[in-house]
Symmetry: C2
Subunit: 256 residues, 2 copies
C-alpha cells in the first residue's frame, strides 16, 4: 500500500511537470506543419502523375488544394462542381488546353490510383483545417492575450520554441523578438554580423507586410506587447490584449 | 488546317517519346515511397501526441500501422477489435500499463484531433496498399520477366533509375548489378576504394538475407538473370522468367 501511495505521488509530480496544455498545443502545431509538408509533397507527386495525361493543367492551378479538386471534378465530368471551383473563363482555358494537350491517353484503370491520391490530398487538407480550429480554441483558452495579438499558429510556434507558456512569460521582450533566429543571433555574437531583427515574429502580417526598413522597429514594438500579454496569460489571467493591440496600432502609426 | 495537322504529328512524336507505361510505373513507385515516408512521419507525431495521455503504449506497439489501429480501438473501447489486433496476453499488458500510466488525463475534446490523425494514418496505409497492387499489375503487364524475378517494387525502382524498360534492357549485367550505387562506384573509380557489390539489388531478399561474404556473388548471378529478363520483356516478349529463376536457384545453391 505504501509503495502504491508513493507511486501515486511521483505520478502527480511527473504529470504536473509535463504541462499538459503546452504539450497539446505544441503537438497540434507540429501536426499542422507536418500536414502542410505532406500536402505539398503529395501534390507535387499528383501533378507529375496526372501530368502524364494532362501536363498543361499544372500551370493553370498551381495551388495544391485547388489542383486536386479540379482534377477530381474534371475526371468525374462534374461541370457544376468545376464552376464552383473556378470561373467560366478559366474553365474554357482548361477545355482549350485539354483539346491541344501534349498528354498521353491513359486508361480508367491507370487513372484510379491517381484520383485516389487526389482524394487523399483533399482529406489531408480537411484534417489540417480541423487541427487548426482545435489549435485556435486551445490557444484562446490557455493564452487568450498572446493569441489575440498573434493568432493561434504563431502563438503555438512561440510556445513550442519557448518551451511553454510560463517560459515565454519569463522572457524579456528582446528575447521574444529574436525567438527562432537563434542561428543568426549566435553568428552575431561570435562573428559580429548584424543582429537579427526578428525570428518567428516575421510570420506576423504586420512585420511580413511591412517594408524592410521598418521591420526591426515593428518587431521591437510587437515583442514588447507579447511579453506583457504572456505575463497576463501566465500570472494575472486578465484579458488586456485589446488595450495592448490599440497601443500597438498607435505605435505602428508613428513608425516611419 | 495544315498547322493543325503539323501539330497533331508533333504531338504523336512527343507522346511516344514519353513512354507512358514507364512513367506510370515510376510515378506509382515514387508515390509508394512518399506515402511510406508520410506514414512514418505522421506516426511519430501520433506517438508523441497520444503519448501525452498514454506514453507507455508506444514501446508495446512500435509498428506505425499497428499503433494507430490500437489507439483507435482502445479509445473506442472496442474489445473485440482489440483482440483481432493483438493477443489476449498483450492486451492485458496494455491494461496493466494504462493503470499505472504516467500519462496525463486529457478530455474528449483534446482526443478528437488525435484520433483523426490516427484515422488519417490508417487511410494512408490503405492507399499505399492500393497503389502497390496497381504497381504490381502494371509491372506484370510491362515486364513480366523482370517482375517475376524481382517483385513489383524493386522492378519499378530499377526502371525508375534506368530511365525506362528499354534503357534497362540495353544495360549490361555489370551495370544493373550496381544501379543505385552510383556514388560508391564513382568513389571507386576516382579514389580506388573497393567497388560496390550491389546497389538497389540489395533490396532483393536473396541478397539482403544472405551473409555478407556471399552478397557480391549473388548480386552478380541475379543481375545476369535480370539483364536477360529485361531483354525478353523489351524485345522478344516471351515469358522465360520461370526458367531463369530455376537457373538462378541452381547457381545460388553452388555459391559458398
Amino acid at each position: 500500500v505504501e509503495r502504491r501511495e508513493f507511486f501515486e505521488r511521483a505520478k502527480a509530480i511527473v504529470q504536473k511537470s509535463l504541462k499538459k496544455k503546452d504539450r497539446l498545443i505544441v503537438n497540434a502545431v507540429h501536426t499542422v506543419d507536418d500536414l502542410n509538408k505532406e500536402i505539398n509533397q503529395l501534390s507535387e507527386r499528383l501533378k507529375d502523375w496526372y501530368g502524364i495525361s494532362f501536363p498543361e493543367l499544372e500551370s493553370l492551378f498551381p495551388d495544391p488544394e485547388k489542383y486536386a479538386s479540379i482534377v477530381l471534378a474534371l475526371e468525374k465530368n462534374e461541370k457544376e462542381q468545376l464552376l464552383k471551383l473556378t470561373s467560366e473563363e478559366k474553365l474554357n482555358q482548361i477545355f482549350d488546353a485539354r483539346k491541344d494537350s501534349l498528354g498521353a491517353e491513359i486508361t480508367e484503370n491507370d487513372k484510379k490510383p491517381i484520383l485516389d491520391l487526389a482524394k487523399s490530398i483533399l482529406s489531408t487538407v480537411e484534417l489540417r483545417s480541423r487541427v487548426e480550429s482545435y489549435l485556435e480554441s486551445l490557444c484562446n483558452e490557455l493564452c487568450p492575450n498572446v493569441s489575440y495579438l498573434c493568432g493561434p499558429l504563431l502563438t503555438a510556434r512561440l510556445l513550442a520554441i519557448a518551451g511553454g507558456l510560463e517560459e515565454l512569460a519569463e522572457m524579456p521582450a528582446s528575447t521574444i523578438q529574436v525567438l527562432g533566429a537563434e542561428k543568426a543571433l549566435f553568428k552575431h555574437i561570435k562573428r559580429g554580423s548584424p543582429p537579427p531583427k526578428h525570428g518567428l515574429l516575421f510570420q506576423h502580417p504586420i512585420i511580413s507586410g511591412a517594408s524592410k526598413e521598418k521591420r526591426g522597429k515593428i518587431a521591437r514594438a510587437l515583442s514588447a506587447k507579447i511579453a506583457i500579454a504572456a505575463k497576463a496569460d501566465a500570472f494575472t489571467h486578465h484579458f488586456i490584449a485589446d488595450k495592448l493591440k490599440a497601443d500597438l496600432e498607435k505605435r505602428l502609426s508613428e513608425i516611419k
